[in-house]
Point group: C2
Chain length 393, copies 2
């Protein structure tokens, strides 16, 4: 039978869902490497550390019985209990295991929270610059992400005053990331409390992305859950535990939402990957936490080297980032076209960084993100190469 031609049809939302622009640069970096060039990778948002050995060992044990079946949609009960224990031990906060949902990465948690909360046309306020996927979780369900430009004056974070100033009748929720990707900055406890109060007073909901919260290098380390039980708190085993590929994270939700989140999780995911749930369980054991802590200190050492070194080269990093593994640098001294700057730095200096375009619409041409997800000697090599590049031929 002759088959009629099929028509290309695309949902309108796809026009507003952006790719990761850095992938183009990454492709070029790999091509250069294939041609024999040495590239220092500072564009990658994942730790260079492998999965901790106690985690691998626990997965090996779990594989022995081969019973890798579906788990309950909310996650294995023992893992939910272990996450509750993590909050108790680390932050002195009681979180009932019933409020904890195990998700396929923080991505799954963000998707559940946005889909449950946001009606079509409603707005989700968030800082710009910010993690690029966040706005697309809103767009997917026909809601709108509203980026609020933030800068050094507020440590590149939303403030309660900004939440109030940008609130409209359509605003349904506010998303805060602390520490932030791409800026590494933290929302202080008092400001977080003021944001939560402002959001709740207006009848909205607060989402707090804490996926980098294990990686804080100074100051008061807390969780939004120490401030309010009414926030949706997103976390992950990817960054602090170095387990990106396992795609496992969690969501803490107010009790009234758990049933709705559960039915959505049943339908969208069925359950988080079972081997990854065994891995996550082992990640929370004391011996793995000790490894994670060593790695945190290694990241801090890298930050403490890289931050002054970049500043000395003329990159403007006006606020010292307290966490994550990123430095978000103003490159005004060198260029107003960060994409071109990054491509040039890659081609001529063999250093890969991420241009600002991936993080929003707030002066992306004047910023690049450095990830210190490579060893100290490699960071030193990168700084030497950048110095030579900036000094010119």
């Amino acid at each position: 039978m002759p088959m009629p031609e099929a028509r290309f049809r695309l949902a309108p939302r796809m026009a507003e869902i952006q790719p990761f622009y850095v992938m183009e640069l990454l492709g070029r970096a790999k091509a250069l490497e294939a041609a024999g060039r040495d590239i220092v990778h500072m564009e990658v948002g994942e730790p260079d550390f492998p999965t901790p050995e106690p985690v691998l060992e626990a997965v090996r044990e779990a594989l022995e019985h081969g019973r890798m079946f579906y788990t309950p949609a909310l996650g294995m009960p023992e893992l939910r209990a272990a996450i509750a224990g993590f909050y108790r031990d680390r932050y002195g906060v009681e979180v009932a295991p019933e409020r904890i949902l195990v998700t396929p990465g923080a991505s799954g948690a963000l998707q559940l929270a946005t889909a449950v909360l946001l009606a079509p046309g409603e707005a989700l306020l968030m800082a710009d610059p910010g993690y690029p996927c966040n706005r697309h979780f809103a767009r997917l369900v026909e809601a709108r992400a509203v980026g609020v430009p933030v800068g050094p004056e507020s440590g590149y974070q939303l403030t309660a005053a900004q939440v109030e100033a940008h609130w409209t009748a359509e605003t349904a929720a506010v998303l805060v990331a602390s520490p932030s990707n791409p800026t590494g900055t933290v929302v202080e406890r008092a400001e977080m409390a003021a944001i939560a109060a402002a959001v709740h007073r207006r009848g909205g909901r607060l989402l707090v992305d804490e996926i980098y919260n294990g990686l804080v290098y100074e100051g008061d380390v807390t969780t939004a859950l120490a401030i309010t039980d009414e926030a949706f708190v997103i976390n992950s085993f990817s960054k602090y535990f170095g387990m990106t590929g396992w795609r496992i994270g969690w969501l803490v939700a107010p009790p009234a939402y758990v049933r709705d989140l559960e039915k959505l999780a049943q339908n969208l995911f069925i359950s988080a990957p079972t081997p990854s749930q065994y891995a996550a369980l082992a990640a929370l054991r004391p011996e793995t936490l000790a490894i994670a802590e060593e790695r945190r200190l290694a990241f801090r050492e890298r930050r403490d080297y890289l931050l002054p070194a970049l500043r000395e080269l003329g990159f403007r990093i006006p606020v010292t980032p307290q966490g994550a593994f990123y430095l978000y640098a103003d490159i005004s001294a060198f260029s107003d076209d960060s994409h071109r700057f990054a491509m040039d730095l890659l081609e001529r200096a063999g250093v890969a960084v991420t241009p600002g375009l991936d993080f929003g619409a707030n002066a992306p041409g004047r910023h690049v993100r450095f990830a210190y997800t490579t060893s100290l000697p490699r960071l030193e090599e990168a700084v030497a190469r950048i110095r030579a590049y900036l000094e010119g031929p």
Copy 2:
């Protein structure tokens, strides 16, 4: 600071997203088991077989290096190539690896395909009864699932004539599952070609769920990809390979859609779980395929026992299901309230089955689904118990 009370707000879509009703029954079954009762589980939509040993061995090897990082959003290139090889070897169909996306389960594939295709208000036609999550993937993105009642006269499958009869200006796409959950029936090649032609002629798109396609017990076994390159074909390692908990599947898309699907996958999932991708790679090796084939024969043996046994007891199963591991039975001879029938069967006979309500709005009260995901001796035990139950005290 006193915290203002937070308001409960929920996106309207949540009112139309249904939980898995069988979970209530499953909860009761577990309570009975905890109290010492023996329950035969025929409600579970996952194979009872563990992960095949060559898969476990491959994952153990992959764990040796511990480098479980993100993969490209489309999946590890070697896995995409291996899936292309699977189509070549099994079906004699050439599918370019560039058209294959590795996803977090078939769930991820269904979500990507529906989100890319369906605009708000547009309709996705599908058979009723059908897999319950399908309609929610449409609802999530503010589109509508339109269930078309199907019955024994069409083998519980959509026909091209029905597609034409139910097409409206809002129809954007049609979803066919072959073999079907819950009915186990297959769309014959000529009908699939007619459906594809009808859909394409009207400017729509065809989605074909082939997650049970490895488990066909008779007749012509093919794939929609042998008929058209314009369909979106969803598949999974869950059912045929017995790897439910790994949450790994794939989507074959028309080339024109790959870029959009990729950017959506980057944002929604980042990538499928890396250990599961190594597992999937090993699933496609000849030694694992041989195990899957043995299991297929075991499922066929179970079907060949259970189908006549249930018919003899008075369950109406008018069409012999060619695949999957389900029998969808009309219980009119016993009840018009399948929920009550299933709860009663559980309490009094210790046999768990799934009431029709989970599969749509087409006479759910008159149907239950039997899953033959337990051993032959246990199926015999179930049949004996059901016989005793039906004969009464």
